[in-house]
């Protein structure tokens, strides 16, 4: 696409201006943060670093995030951010800081950030300087031609490769400046882009991490498929032994009634009553089955009211607070519902509680649900517990589960599922 000359000049000037501003953030921000990071990590040996590292790293991440935003808006370069989330139940105070520091140092993203800071204040900075220099340097050539050359009559001044010492060489410098300016018009945007691409090369996750992600996806997919298959088997068995068998019995009864109705009306009437009872039982079984597959309230009202209805069925008094502005996708709603249902069942079975609080809200692209009880505590996530079932359910949707349950209670189970509401 051919741009009109005027708008090309304007874009180039804008790019130069951006590079100029960014170069300050680059040199001041990255150098300061790099020095602070190195000091903070070194001081871990002295203990002070344990407290300061999380703060410094948070600043580094903000600095990197700002660059990610600029890369996306200015040059359309998308730099993915793969920071491991902090678990919800990190303790407060000094121990919490130590825990955070450990988690941060284990996160490869932290080391990537540091590598990037180093690259940013060197190669990244040079690229930015080039970008805006191509806009400013040509001015010097013009000024030399306009008369500044007189200052250098005695000692030669090199404008790039032009030795300026007379009007003629001054004009040559001006000509070179114009050539450089024209080059700048074309090169400034690619140069700025190159700066961001460089940042991406340092900040983007490695192949190995992506491979880990794929492993995780494969694992959760297998689990999802397994769960779905065993659910189907259960449904098949329930139908086969339950409603289906009852309908067979009912049909048989009706056949007998047909034969008996004239010969022995009294017996026929008795059988009719049995047939009606069978159909009622079949209905009850089907109703329970349906509730286990997809609760009707969930279909009719969505997650909030479904959980409210569920809590009303609990033998323990429960308070449900819902702040959802819309509905999540059906599979997410279903997973969240059954996760809450399992969490509530756990409380009833194990916690010895007499009160439950359920809180659901959606913020920053996350559905957050917490189930808290005033029971005896001591619950642990992990294999074998009911909580691992919840973890599996949520895993399919990249959701996570955190449990805080000190001995003596209270227990708080927090679930997070990334999703959008509509």
């Amino acid at each position: 696409m051919k741009q009109p000359a005027q708008s090309r000049v304007r874009t180039a000037m804008l790019t130069g201006g951006r590079a100029f501003v960014l170069s300050f953030a680059c040199i001041a921000g990255s150098v300061t943060l790099f020095v602070l990071s190195v000091l903070s990590i070194t001081f871990i040996l002295l203990g002070i670093g344990l407290v300061t590292t999380p703060w410094v790293m948070e600043a580094v991440r903000k600095h990197a995030d700002q660059r990610r935003r600029l890369a996306a808006t200015w040059s359309d370069v998308r730099i993915p951010a793969y920071y491991r989330p902090f678990p919800k139940d990190v303790r407060a105070g000094f121990t919490g800081q130590v825990e955070r520091t450990t988690l941060l140092l284990k996160d490869p993203a932290t080391w990537r950030d540091l590598r990037w800071l180093l690259l940013d204040m060197t190669a990244g900075f040079v690229l930015l300087v080039f970008t805006f220099a191509l806009m400013i340097y040509p001015l010097e050539g013009l000024v030399l031609a306009a008369g500044l050359w007189r200052v250098f009559e005695d000692s030669t001044y090199w404008y790039t490769f032009v030795p300026v010492d007379s009007q003629a060489t001054g004009l040559a410098a001006a000509a070179l400046g114009i050539v450089l300016f024209v080059v700048g018009l074309w090169a400034s945007q690619p140069l700025l882009r190159l700066h961001f691409v460089l940042a991406r090369s340092a900040l983007a996750p490695t192949q190995e991490e992506l491979a880990q992600r794929i492993d995780r996806l494969t694992e959760t997919r297998h689990e999802a498929v397994d769960t779905a298959a065993s659910e189907l088997r259960r449904i098949e068995r329930d139908l086969h032994d339950g409603a289906q068998a009852r309908l067979v019995a009912m049909g048989m009864n009706l056949g007998t009634i047909e034969a008996l109705i004239e010969k022995d009306p009294a017996q026929a009437k008795k059988l009719l009553a049995t047939a009606r009872a069978s159909s009622a039982e079949a209905l009850t079984e089907l109703r329970d089955l349906v509730r286990g597959i997809h609760p009707p309230v969930l279909a009719e009202r969505g997650l909030g009211d479904a959980v409210k209805a569920l809590s009303l069925r609990m033998p323990i008094t429960s308070e449900v607070t819902v702040e959802l502005t819309g509905r999540a996708e059906a599979p997410v709603e279903s997973a969240a519902y059954f996760a809450v249902s399992e969490a509530l069942t756990n409380v009833v079975k194990h916690a010895d509680a007499d009160r439950i609080w359920v809180d659901m809200h959606h913020a920053e692209g996350m559905l957050r649900i917490s189930v808290t009880d005033n029971g005896k505590g001591g619950a642990a996530a992990g294999s074998g517990s009911g909580l691992s079932g919840i973890e599996r359910r949520l895993g399919t949707f990249d959701g996570v589960l955190a449990v805080s349950s000190p001995a003596g209670g209270p227990t708080m189970v927090t679930m997070e599922i990334p999703c959008a509401l509509s």
């Binding site: 009606r276 159909s279 009622a280 209905l283 009850t284 109703r287 349906v290 509730r291 009707p296 309230v297 279909a299 009719e300 009202r301 009211d305 409210k308 209805a309 009303l312 069925r313 609990m314 033998p315 323990i316 008094t317 007499d354």
Partner: protein
């Protein structure tokens, strides 16, 4: 008595029409969808509406919403809600306006025609017909923490039937006791639960339901 019926499944709608007609009800309209129901309730002024919770086009709780909206426009409009499942949550919403003339039953209850028709008549007369399962849900929650104010098993049985909306006469015949005995039980129940005594049958039922729902 004129009935507006809303049910989307043809077989069930047809069956209900036949049953109601057999008991001398006049079918003012038998509709399939929520919007049709809203229109019929507004224009035909029926004595009672029999409504399925789930209706097209949304296949959510459209029937329930239409019924609640119609009752906001015409307080006390008798509505009997039918569903494949009963939820205390919905029962609460239906009873919230305290106007009576509310029924909420499982669809299975149509198997017993006499009982079902009795429920329709009761609702049409401004009474209540709550599904036994709703009452069970309410009771199962309570029994864990509050022993129901020391009711005797007999009184508890009476209370369950009363909460369903049955009259003393009906309770007496079901339990095979005299009406006087039932009256005595009910007055005991009210004093034990600390509820205000009322002559009005329906006020009485609503008071018991509200007491249970306080959970």
């Amino acid at each position: 008595m004129r009935v507006v019926l809303a049910e989307d499944l043809f077989l069930l709608r047809d069956g209900l029409v036949r049953m109601l007609e057999a008991y001398d009800f006049e079918i003012a309209a038998a509709v399939e969808t929520g919007p049709e129901l809203t229109k019929a309730l507004a224009e035909l002024e029926p004595d009672v509406a029999v409504v399925d919770v789930r209706l097209p086009p949304s296949h959510t709780d459209e029937g329930l919403q239409c019924a609640l909206a119609a009752r906001r426009d015409r307080p006390g409009l008798p509505v009997l809600v039918l569903s494949q499942h009963v939820e205390q949550l919905y029962a609460r919403e239906l009873l919230a306006d305290g106007n009576g003339g509310i029924g909420y039953l499982l669809k299975d209850r149509v198997f017993d025609a006499d009982q079902f028709i009795d429920a329709v008549r009761r609702v049409a007369a401004g009474g209540t017909a709550m599904d036994p399962q709703v009452i069970q849900q309410l009771l199962s929650r309570r029994s864990a923490d509050a022993p129901m104010g020391g009711l005797t098993p007999r009184e508890r049985e009476v209370m369950e039937l009363m909460a369903q909306g049955r009259s003393n006469v009906a309770i007496a015949s079901q339990m095979v006791v005299t009406e006087r005995a039932v009256a005595k039980h009910t007055s005991n129940i009210f004093s034990k639960l600390g509820l205000p005594v009322s002559d009005d049958d329906n006020r009485r039922v609503l008071a018991v339901l509200a007491y249970l729902d306080r959970g």
